[in-house]
Amino acid sequence: MADSKMHILVCGGTGCRASQSEQIVGDLKAELENRNLENDVRVITTGCFGFCEKGPVVKVVPDNTFYTEVRPSDVVDIVNEHVVKGRPVKRLLYKNPKNDYSVTTTSNIDFYKKQIRIALRNCGFVDPENIDEYIARDGYEALGKCISEFSPEEVIATVKDSGLRGRGGGGFPTGLKWEITRNVENEQKYVVCNADEGDPGAFMDRSILEGDPHSVIEAMAICGYCIGADTGLVYIRAEYPLAINRLKTALAQSREYGLLGDDILGSGFNFDIEIRYGAGAFVCGEETALIHSMEGHRGEPTFKPPFPSVSGYMGKPTNVNNVETFANIPVIINKGAKWFSKIGTEKSKGTKVFALAGKVNNVGLIEVPMGITLREVIFDIGGGIRNGRKFKSVQTGGPSGGCLTDKDLDTPIDYDNLIAAGSMMGSGGMIVMDEDDCMVSISKFYLEFTLEESCGKCTPCRIGNKRLHEILNKITKGEGTEEDLERLNVLSNVIKDTSLCGLGQTSPNPVLSTIKNFYDEYKAHVTEGTCPAGQCKDLLKYEIIPDLCTGCTVCFRNCPVSAISGERKSPHYIDQSLCIKCGVCYDKCKFKAIRIA
């Protein structure tokens, strides 16, 4: 029999590779060869499964067994038990955090149950370095159909009808963008793929490029056909070496197959793609800054209009879309606008990929239909809050998104609802916080990021955010006043109202939303000088409860600054003027004799 009976899919995404998935692939192949099973069982390196926290991830088909946290040392058991004897290796199965039961297949894992994978359809399924596998999954058929059967206008109409909106954060209707660029007359136009994913913790674009680079290439060619461009540029951050390599491999294969280059599929349409590297500045995700960076200038945004559609790269009409947006395109063409627009809400169609992180049980990359609620994402897919703590807030939209509360949990997620709730879709970061998180510190934390990543061009972002951060710092140190809270509000609103680009205009969102939703917590910091979540070190006081202290001297011996004194077998005492609030005594005390005031 020519075909193998079993495929073992090993995740080759950056996360899993970091925990030796490449070695697992090598060892599996060697072990199978040892047992002369190399013809029966194929080992395939795929893109990301999304469940990175549990990586390296290995999936066995056709029985669909899903192994997590696999080590190279587990390879022998997988071959011995599963391949030879057909018994899943139980210890490697995913355990449901709710009841600790092992789950064999992906379809039974909560993390995957509510997901609909369109943009990520091939991630974790195909070998990203093999164009044939992409073709087997309808790859390049959409491009073929577009250039041989449809006019550019018809394709644009399909994209418009699908209701697809930009997945990079702005949510601008993709079809409309294409149409505008198409309607600008110029001999030279460009298609740009924005792969400058900058939101901390978000990695959907990287995953798509690593796991399914051809989908982006195909979509860019379709876009080029629609707008009248023969050149595509992928602006990708240089810190994504694996994505760059996979993309390069994919580009070479597409050229070899004639799916890029001149006269594609005999249609007379020419298109090719170049790669441009970014140095990883967050602001270069903003399309005008991105274009300036590609042109060799300082990565700074400029005022729009003119929009890139009119005057973009080298002053030519340029259509900029993000990786995830592009990844949706071939599916829309193949399955139709109607099919796509059935998924989602009235104004936000299709799915969105989120990087779910923070204090949830299941952390990873998920793709869910628009309109799903935050509750479903956090409690079903995410498996609820870690360690049985209470949910406090969820921040969506990357560093400049707002922090939402339990009253927003049942809001269907889409572009408009998130904005109405005081946050945004952004590129799809989603960070869950529990009762132990101090919201003042959280907003300070996010602001630190925008502060670092601001280009410094406009005053409100350059100096305004600095001042906001200074005020927040004051508050977390217990030196804030009620006037400072008012000042935070006023300044945040001015920054929103006057900043040049999206980065500045959204940077105060964490501050504004936390002030609105957690005002009491702010107030406690400035009026009572306390941090209710017990996170602001300067506001904490470690005290020994004399009645519970046995005088065991453990705290005394462990204090790094000798702030604790006392006789053996009698209650000890912490000198507050010396204490650095490291919390070691609290952790070490076996008698719960130390309290945080």
Binding site: L9, R87, P88, V103, N108, A136, Y140
Partner: protein, 135 residues
């Protein structure tokens, strides 16, 4: 030889060629919706010819054009009745057959899988799978 794809039809031909090689994965992805046949492949099963039966089943299904997943599984505990196979038709309870020879296998595929009729040789189910435990 140039690998250039010259037309959409060309592309579709490549597609159908490679799809065969990926069938296992496609099936695995929606295993609940298609027929699954698990062949018990522990020492006892192999000794009784389970390996040959499994290969026969795969060929027969292919020959009859039935979309089904064939996997091996561990000992089901019916060592006296090897080779044993488990047949799962979507929407129905799993059924286990014992003493499955090539002829028996052909009959199971013809009657049970294609026509939906149970035939002789069913072993009553006494165990639970790991997935059941969860529910």
């Amino acid at each position: 030889m140039s690998k250039k794809v010259k037309s959409l039809a060309d592309l579709k031909k490549i597609k159908s060629d490679v799809q065969q090689k990926m069938k296992l994965r496609e099936q695995g992805d929606h295993a609940e919706q298609i027929v699954q046949i698990k062949v018990a492949m522990a020492t006892c099963g192999i000794a009784s010819g389970a390996k040959e039966v499994m290969e026969f089943i795969i060929e027969e299904l292919d020959f009859k054009g039935v979309d089904a997943v064939v996997t091996q599984t561990g000992c089901m505990g019916y060592c006296y009745a090897e080779p044993t196979i488990e047949v799962i038709v979507p929407g129905q309870d799993p059924v286990i057959y014992g003493f499955v020879s090539r002829d028996k296998a052909r009959e199971i595929i013809e009657k049970h899988v294609i026509q939906g009729e149970m035939i002789d040789g069913i072993i009553p189910v006494t165990h639970k799978t790991i997935d059941d435990e969860e529910n």
